[in-house]
């Protein structure tokens, strides 16, 4: 009897373990949501301007078209109006861990200024956050070791945004680019020499016409 009681206690306690909610963290065996905020308004917003639903997919296959990179999101450039409620559905298409992590949100409502959806493997989760009113470009990335660096980086512009971030696949060049050797052939050098000659001859022709005009 004692055993059954203990067992039932354990069984009943299990679901509550599976969906813990601690200080802004919602966790289960599939993943974790941090700083989910469907209703609290930033100080500078009087009301939610718009509900924006975005679906963002992460995985290896989206990086296939980008030579030299390994992981990325299906879309890396997002834009929402000021004071919008963003309902993010993050879908992980790999069997490993990925994150949708956004930085720079107001610290008084989002501890450390972050909102995160983390998926421990294939699957999806939806959560919301409300953006402030100023035009700003927020940094989105996956913080699993080397995922940002190898392609998993994006941006969210609120309003007009505040410019583009560096090193976003297909959008902006890297801040510290690799240098690749240039495959020169004899055409390269012929083109160069021919252009130089053309420039020099141009002056000669020009001076010829100038002197002719003077003669007249």
């Amino acid at each position: 009897m004692k055993k059954i009681l203990l067992l039932s206690l354990f069984l009943f306690s299990f679901p509550s373990f599976a969906a813990m909610n601690h200080g802004g963290m919602i966790m289960d065996e599939k993943g974790m949501i941090m700083n989910h905020n469907p209703d609290k308004l930033p100080k500078d917003c009087t009301e939610i301007s718009e509900d924006v639903d975005i679906t963002i997919r992460g995985g290896r296959k989206f990086a296939k078209d980008y030579a030299g990179k390994m992981f990325t999101y299906d879309k890396r450039d997002w834009q929402v109006p000021p004071c919008a409620r963003v309902n993010v559905t993050f879908i992980n298409e790999d069997d490993i861990r990925h994150q949708f992590m956004i930085h720079g949100l107001p610290g008084y409502m989002y501890p450390k200024g972050m909102f995160t959806i983390e998926l421990y493997g294939k699957g999806q989760k939806t959560a919301s956050f409300i953006v402030p009113s100023r035009d700003y470009t927020y940094y989105i990335h996956c913080e699993v070791s080397q995922h940002t660096e190898k392609g998993m980086k994006g941006q969210l512009k609120v309003g007009k945004g505040s410019g583009d971030l560096d090193s976003i696949l297909g959008l902006t060049p890297p801040l510290t680019p690799d240098l690749y050797p240039i495959k020169n052939s004899h055409y390269t050098w012929i083109t160069l020499i021919f252009s130089i000659l053309l420039g020099a001859v141009f002056i000669r022709v020009l001076s010829y016409f100038l002197s002719k005009r003077e003669d007249v």
Partner: protein, 550 residues
């Protein structure tokens, strides 16, 4: 005629053009690629890609257990089993074999003479052995390529030396071939004698440098019966055996065990060049005809009586390494004075590195052809391991823990014997292992294709390209193909390594593309060229104008 002022006014334009062209100067040799990285390209190969067969099955009839001239030769399921006629000759001595056996081997008639049953126990006790010195992948004035060629792994032909039983006939496979024939190979052969035998080993120096024989750990007197040098050390004995000369060393070993022999002239270099081999003294038993040579080491197809009492199989495992810079010294010149200078004066052993690592004369993947340990469940297998590299080795056999029974040919007290899974050997050390294939979760985890290799990681690569080095396999018979190849999980698993371009460091890993190169930016080059031309033209125009103007 325009006056000088016009031309002076044009000078700032020249500077403006120079500034503009500097600003617009294109990158000529390397540049960043912008938003998208280069698409990538397949690596350039210096020679056409050639994929080798893992096993070239030349002598399938050599595998089966057979009796030749009344010598029982055990089965050897390897891709490249030892020639059974050689085994018969090595057991009986060339003076006791049939003409057929003689003709089927390439051993000289006086290479091994066995006679005189001194103790009357049914086996010969006077053993006369003749060794030669051979060179593999050396220089030749007739070709830029090495000769005779001996590949330790696909496309890898370092210059090497080895002792060899005295041979007859050509050193190459046939008249048209550049390849060394099968018996000319590394390592120097394992020499096996019986405890108490009177052994006369003659070094016939067929090489172009002086050499000697030194018996390491094998019981031998300091001098021969007639007072000659018997330790092989030039500074304590006679001058080394000069090219074209011979010397006979005398031994009557009282103690059995796994020992070594090597050249003791310029030992640092000559030993590393390959002039070292295993020397096994077998316990004295009646009717004990031992296999005097195990060419290429590995499986012993005719074990001694004492080994057969306790073990199901026996393998000699000889670990060697090569410094590619030392190996090169014999490949760069045909003048022996030059070779001697390069090897003995220019080359500095204290700055040496090891680049190639071999087990029984081959590096992976060629170790798959003749250096496998083949087993069945519930067997006791005798492994004699020698390390003649200058670095330590840490041999590990996947899925097994074996017991170290002997250190340097001396039995460890059975109560204190250690069973473990990494076996460390310093330079010149030997250990004997009892590998038990009992699936009990300790000695063996069951049948499989189990890798075994040195765990000092430089040893599992060919000049840094992995997998390579002394990687080999312990394969259970149930997982072995007809041609002695392991049944591995992927059919294409060996395709990469069995190519001529993999160890040349050209083939990209996992068949992937390389980042490669970018195309020249022609627009910038044309713009830059035009600006440069305008500048030059203008300078000439100004100079000419200034000289002409008054």
């Amino acid at each position: 005629m325009p006056n000088k002022r016009l031309y002076y006014r044009l000078i700032p334009v020249v500077f403006a053009l120079i500034a503009l062209s500097t600003w617009l100067q294109p990158d000529f040799f390397q540049r960043a690629s912008g938003i998208d990285l280069p698409k990538g390209q397949n690596p350039q190969l210096s020679q056409a890609l050639k994929v080798e067969k893992p096993c070239v099955d030349l002598h399938p009839e050599w595998r089966k257990a057979q009796t030749i001239d009344n010598v029982a030769i055990s089965e050897s399921l390897l891709c490249e089993p030892d020639n059974p006629y050689n085994i018969a000759a090595f057991v009986l001595g060339m003076n006791n074999v049939s003409m057929r056996t003689m003709m089927s081997s390439r051993i000289a008639e006086d290479a091994l003479i066995k006679s005189d049953d001194l103790d009357g126990d049914g086996d010969p006790d006077i053993i006369r052995i003749k060794l030669e010195v051979l060179e593999l992948n050396g220089a030749t004035p007739d070709s830029p390529n090495p000769f005779p060629t001996y590949d330790i792994a696909p496309g890898i032909q370092p210059g090497m030396w080895a002792f060899s039983p005295k041979l007859r006939g050509m050193s190459v496979k046939n008249f048209r071939s550049q390849k060394a024939n099968a018996i000319l190979r590394a390592p120097s052969p394992v020499i096996r004698v019986e405890q108490g035998d009177k052994v006369y080993i003659t070094l016939e120096n067929t090489h172009y440098f002086p050499h000697t024989l030194h018996f390491h750990g094998v019981d031998h007197p300091f001098q021969t019966a007639d007072g000659g040098d018997n330790d092989g050390v030039p500074v304590t004995g006679q001058k080394p055996v000069m090219p074209g000369n011979t010397r006979t060393y005398e031994l009557q070993p009282r103690h059995a065990g796994t020992m070594l022999y090597h050249c003791h002239v310029q030992t640092d270099k000559h030993l590393m060049m390959g002039l070292n081999g295993m020397f096994v003294v077998e316990e004295n038993r009646p009717n004990n005809w031992v296999q005097t040579f195990n060419v290429g080491a590995g499986h012993v197809r005719h074990s001694s009586v004492a080994i057969k009492e306790k073990f199901d199989r026996e393998y000699d495992l000889h670990y060697q390494s090569i410094d590619k810079n030392l190996a090169k010294t014999i490949q760069q010149s045909n003048d022996i004075r030059e070779i001697s200078k390069k090897m003995h004066r220019v080359y500095n052993m204290s700055e040496s590195k090891e680049n190639y690592f071999m087990l029984n004369g081959h590096s992976f993947p060629y170790t798959l052809r003749d250096a496998l340990i083949i087993a069945k469940p519930d067997e006791n297998i005798k492994l004699r391991i020698a390390n003649t590299q200058h670095s330590n080795i840490a041999v590990h056999i996947h899925g097994h823990k074996a017991t170290i029974t002997h250190y340097d040919g001396v039995e460890q007290n059975p109560a204190a014997q250690i069973t473990r899974d990494v076996y460390g050997l310093s330079a010149a050390q030997r250990i004997d292992l009892n590998l038990q294939t009992t699936n009990d979760g300790l000695h063996s985890y069951g049948e499989g294709v189990w890798l075994f290799h040195d765990h000092v990681e430089m040893g599992v690569a060919n000049d840094g390209i992995s997998p390579g080095g002394n990687v080999a396999l312990l394969v259970y018979e149930s997982l072995l193909s007809e041609t002695g190849m392991p049944n591995i999980l992927r059919a294409d698993a060996l395709d990469d390594v069995m190519t001529n371009s993999y160890y040349a460091k050209e083939r990209a890993l996992w068949g992937k593309k390389e980042a490669g190169t970018l195309a020249p930016d022609y627009l910038r080059i044309i713009l830059f060229g035009l600006l440069l031309g305008l500048t030059l033209g203008l300078i000439i125009f100004i100079l000419r104008g200034l000289t002409k103007a008054d």
